[in-house]
C-alpha cells in the first residue's frame, strides 16, 4: 500500500483534485474537469489567504484524497476561533479503507494546533453515509445547514 502523506495542495495537484470533485453524484452536475482555469484562479485565492489550508492525501505520488480547512476567528463562545472543513473527497478506488477518517483526524489535529475550539462542517442531507461517518468521528449533527446560491 505504501505510506500515506498529507500535504498542502499545489497547482500540479489540481487535475486530480478536480477529478475527485467531479466524480460524485452532486459534483458531476457542477464541476468542469475539462476546464481548469476557474480552479487555478481559485487556487491563487486560497494561496493568498493564510487562513486557508487546502491539502491532498498522497500515496506513492498519487493524489487519493483532499479537503479544505478554514480558520475563522469569532466573538461567540468567549472569543473562540473555529475551523470549517469543506470539500472532503476520497478517490473512488480508496473509499472504505479508512482514508477519510485519517483526513478528518488530520483536520481535527491541525485545528487544535491552530488554537481552534470548535470544528464544523456541513454535509448535503442526501449524503447519509457521510453523516454516519462524521458521527463515528465524534461530530454531532446539532445544526441545520442553510445555503443560498447567488
Amino acid at each position: 500500500m505504501g505510506d500515506l502523506g498529507i500535504r498542502r495542495a499545489t497547482a500540479d495537484d489540481l487535475p486530480a483534485i478536480v477529478a475527485m470533485l467531479a466524480d460524485d453524484p452532486l459534483g458531476a452536475q457542477r464541476e468542469s474537469p475539462d476546464d481548469l482555469a476557474p480552479y487555478l484562479a481559485a487556487l491563487d485565492r486560497l494561496e493568498a489567504d493564510p487562513h486557508q489550508h487546502l491539502v491532498v492525501a498522497v500515496r506513492e505520488d498519487r493524489v487519493i484524497g483532499t479537503l479544505q480547512l478554514t480558520v475563522i476567528p469569532g466573538l461567540s463562545h468567549r472569543g473562540a476561533t473555529r475551523a470549517v472543513i469543506e470539500a472532503v473527497r476520497i478517490h473512488a478506488d480508496e473509499r472504505g479503507g479508512g482514508l477519510g477518517g485519517r483526513l478528518i483526524e488530520w483536520a481535527i489535529d491541525t485545528s487544535r494546533e491552530l488554537g481552534c475550539r470548535l470544528v464544523q462542517l456541513t454535509s448535503d442531507k442526501s449524503r447519509v453515509d457521510a453523516h454516519r461517518f462524521y458521527e463515528r468521528l465524534g461530530f454531532t449533527a446539532s445544526h441545520e445547514g442553510f445555503k443560498l446560491r447567488l
Copy 2:
C-alpha cells in the same frame, strides 16, 4: 425610530455585542459579559483578517444587532468563493421588527459584491423560529450541520 445604519464593529461596540451574545438561551451558557478580555483578543484576530466582516446595526448610536460575514475561497462549484454568516444577534427590544432581515440582506448584498456565489450558515436545531426566518429569506435547509468541540 430613526435611521438604521450597518457598519464595521469596533472595540467600543464590544460590551453591546457581547451582551447580545449572552442574552440568548444558548449563549447564556457559554458567554462571559463581565470579562471582555477574550472578546478583545478575538476582535484583534478579526481585524487582522481581511476576509472577516464583523458588523453592527446601529440606530441613534445604539447597537441593536450584529453579525459576522466570512469570505472563503474554494475549488468546488468551479472555484466558487462562498460567504459564511455567523453570530447573528438582534437586541431583545428589536426582535420581530424586520431588523434581522435587513442584516441578512446586507450580508447577501455584501457577499455578492465580494464575488461570492454561495452564502451559507448553520443554525442550532433548537432555533426553529430562526429556520423559518432563513427560509423566508430564500435559504434552503439542504445540509446537516456537524460540530465537534475541541
